[in-house]
Amino acid sequence: MREVTETLSDSQLVQRCRAGDPEAWNELVERFSRYVYAICVQGFRLREQDAEDVFQEVFTRVYSRLDTLRDDSAVRPWIAQLTRRLCLDTLASSARVQPAEEVLAPSTEQTLDEIDEAFAVREAVTTLSESCQEVLDRFFARDESYRTISAGLDLPAGTIASRISRCLVQLRERLEGRNEGSTPSSE
């Protein structure tokens, strides 16, 4: 069943969640859990306990307020917005001095943008062919040499760099397609 839900687009997944499909809810949490956690820990540098509290609260609110989301395809930025607000509230309540908005340093904004970008790329990579996913993962994530990739995939060594380039062209096209639209549309 999971195999079915993990191929759904964000928009389709939200529709299934609204329809009360428990498997879709599991997939939604699975799909966005690392994203939410990255915002808490890398973006706002929350302590582990605070990050877990925010994590719980984010998905509780997603569950109870999903009907308020106006554009189903914008679920990611909506979750990001929820997470950011809750992180700011947590920081403000622990500092007990400044208003929440002032807690957000420019470097945090930059980190949040980088997290967004990284997850967007990761998501776009999953839409590529298996062979492209494999070659990009081996080169950029596992730092494998062309020779190692060539041996692992049984491909001529001299073609690896070209293959990676062609896959990157496809990835860019997917990302450009994805960036047309998708802004938060609730609350």
Partner: protein, 153 residues
Amino acid sequence: MVARSSGDSWRDAAGVGAQATALLERITPLVRADAEAWEDALAELHATTGGDLEKRNDALERKLDDAAAVPILIADTGADAASLAELAADRGEGAYRADAAVAAVLAAAGARAASHLVRVNLGVREGDARLARARRSADAAADAAARALDAAG
């Protein structure tokens, strides 16, 4: 640079540029790690204070093993850089192909130097698998550089 300058005429240019950036990020910390690993090994070599000679020899061997691992990775990365530069020398914008060929030659020199470090400085003997790997990388880089020079004309 060659890839950036070839964006209009070569569809894969941006992808080649991205790979070049990734290789640069891969090699930069290796250069520092190489120096540190070698200094550690030297310090162990010059350590003269007491202790069991056999244990000290074992410790030195471990340090040399660690020190050998880094130039092997440098040689591998040099081979990749030369291969990528060969692609740019073959397909890149005409005015910049010579630069790509020069980059391939420099990468091949780096790979050869790293392979040399594995053999001479670290006491690795003939027949050692690590030395063979470093040499394969250096040879592959040299071949790529030769082809890059041919392609650039």
